[in-house]
């Protein structure tokens, strides 16, 4: 009895993902090329092509470990964490966690954080280019508008922290011929990743800037919660964030939404609440 199409597709999907399904052998025509060898063509193609896609998304990880090691790591990951949709630039969200637990890579304790940086750069690169606030835009916001104004980080922006100097490791990996060594104990990294005009990049933040900055893309900075605009602009801890090109247009909020998200005089908002707030 031949397999019904849903069962055949489920079995072939399992087989391609690396889990042998013996019942398929009876469904596939074999001749001088046995059915198992024919099935292997698809398994190899899927895992190889997903490895290629992951290499494109995690180029720094690949540069650090070499192509052969990366291929093996990516193949293992792909077999257990296949994409859920066809846009491959959106595939690999779980890769950094996987790298962190990948035993053969345990000698490179910073590798998972580099994977997080590659992923953040990828997300930023594929985010919309909404108009960014320039210096004049930031200066033009009136004090009386503050209680209902928001300044959002650019779409796709993210803050990354690492106990390792990943910005220096990343820079070293961009130059394969470089013989520079990086002291892993030379300091923690706090990076703001965001899309630029033609690519994605990052800037280093101070501890104060990083602690203020929302940790996830699309979070917003509420001016009204911070206080007077004059103070807001001069606060050193956010100087690294409110640079021209880093933020998107401030927008008027309804009073109700503003109170819900930013608090009121009786129940003041605290910056920590930004962690769960979505952008406008």
């Amino acid at each position: 009895m031949p397999l019904a199409l849903p069962d055949l597709q489920a079995a072939l999907a399992d087989h391609v993902a690396g889990h042998d399904r013996a019942e398929l052998l009876a469904s596939v025509v074999g001749d001088s090329i046995p059915a198992a060898a024919r099935l292997r063509v698809h398994r190899n193609h899927v895992l190889h092509s997903l490895g290629t896609a992951l290499a494109a998304t995690f180029p720094t990880v690949q540069a650090l470990v070499g192509d052969e090691f990366f291929r093996g790591m990516a193949r293992t990951f792909a077999a257990h964490d296949l994409p859920t949709q066809p846009v491959l630039s959106e595939y690999g969200a779980g890769f950094s966690r996987f790298v962190g637990g990948y035993t053969p890579a345990r000698g490179l304790p910073y590798l998972a954080d580099i994977a997080r940086l590659d992923w953040a750069l990828n997300v930023a690169f594929h985010s919309p280019t909404e108009p960014r606030l320039a210096s004049a835009d930031l200066a033009s916001i009136q004090v009386e508008q503050l209680p209902t104004k928001l300044v959002s980080l650019a779409p796709g922006a993210a803050v990354l922290r690492s106990i390792y100097p990943i910005e220096r490791i990343w820079a070293t990996a961009q130059s394969p011929a470089s013989h520079e060594t990086v002291d892993l104990n030379s300091g923690a990294a706090r990076l703001l990743v965001l899309r630029r005009a033609n690519d994605a990049g990052f800037v280093c933040l101070s501890e104060g800037e990083a602690s203020f900055c929302p940790p996830t893309a699309f979070a917003g900075l509420c001016c009204g919660a911070i206080g007077r605009w004059s103070t807001f602009r001069k606060t050193p801890m956010i100087g690294g964030i409110l640079r021209p090109g880093f933020c998107c247009a401030a927008r008027q909020e309804s009073e109700r939404r503003h109170q819900r998200t930013c608090g009121t005089a009786d129940r003041p908002y605290t910056p920590r609440a930004l962690k769960v707030r979505l952008s406008l």
Binding site: P2, I33, V41, S49
Partner: protein, 278 residues
């Protein structure tokens, strides 16, 4: 005859094409590469002023028994709306099952059950886009014991029942015929009215348990045997928009344009032959 052969627009050539604006009948893009609002997507939209576009999807999974993914269909439909491509196509294959996406064009058994599934999905796609789409014959590395139709018979029925066009990938015909021990001329029995486009690409030969198996890798110039088959195809079905595909080991843009010119010469010669025969 005006050129009707186009080339695949791939990332390494994007800046050069945007700068030099080389002459080609059309540019083909993979839909799934332009669904995010990247600079490349913005460049494509600017190129619309100078080029005809063909949008070739690789992930709609028209053969999935579970149907087409709504979210992906919406994204593709949005891109079609923005780009207004002259041609839209995907494959006679499937790539999604159980919420997992396989970056491959997986084969279907050619049965009545599969035919119903494909026709239903193609109709849904065409209804969503409000236009005809073309379905491409896949490169096959295996066949199923319970298939009751040949691939050309299956394709004919998909076109007849859904009203879709057929995109004949001549390299895929060659690869499938070789790998499944079939006669490539079987595909010449299709109705000319259904054939809307042609694809041409290179392939590689691998080893499968000691036997050669052809792999549709789009990584080299079109092979001589495929050019010969292409001439037969054009004589049978007539001139159609023809794409040069190249997706791995991508060469200089001039190589793709050279292949497109060769395709145009073949299309023109076949047209002359048909005119003489008439």
């Amino acid at each position: 005859m005006s050129p009707i052969a186009g080339i695949g627009l791939r990332a390494p050539h994007l800046a050069e094409i945007a700068r030099e604006r080389p002459a080609t009948a059309f540019l083909e893009i993979h839909a799934e590469n332009y669904l995010s609002p990247t600079q490349a997507a913005e460049t494509i939209e600017r190129l619309r002023a100078d080029y005809v576009f063909s949008m070739h999807a690789v992930g709609l999974s028209l053969g999935s028994a579970a149907g087409i993914d709504d979210a992906h269909l919406d994204r593709v439909a949005g891109l079609v709306k923005r780009l207004q491509p002259a041609y839209v196509s995907d494959h006679l294959s499937w790539s999604v099952a159980g919420g997992r996406y396989f970056n491959d064009l997986l084969p279907l058994p050619y049965t009545e059950e599969a035919l119903d599934v494909v026709v239903r999905n193609v109709q849904r796609l065409q209804d969503r886009l409000g236009r005809q789409v073309s379905i491409e014959n896949p490169s096959c590395y295996l066949g199923f014991t319970h298939s009751t139709m040949s691939e050309p018979e299956f394709l004919s029925e998909v076109a007849r029942r859904s009203g879709c066009g057929l995109l004949l990938d001549v390299n895929n015909i060659h690869v499938t015929a070789h790998n499944l021990r079939l006669d490539a001329r079987d595909w010449l029995t299709l109705s000319p009215d259904a054939v809307t486009q042609y694809h041409l690409a290179g392939h590689a030969a691998n080893d499968a348990d000691g036997e050669p198996i052809l792999i549709d890798d789009h990584g080299s110039r079109v092979g001589d045997a495929v050019w010969t088959l292409f001439e037969e195809v054009v004589r049978r079905f007539g001139a159609r928009p023809t794409l040069i595909e190249w997706d791995t080991d991508i060469p200089a843009l001039s190589v793709l344009l050279d292949e497109a010119q060769r395709a145009d010469r073949a299309l023109s010669a076949a047209g002359d032959h048909a005119a003489r025969a008439a």
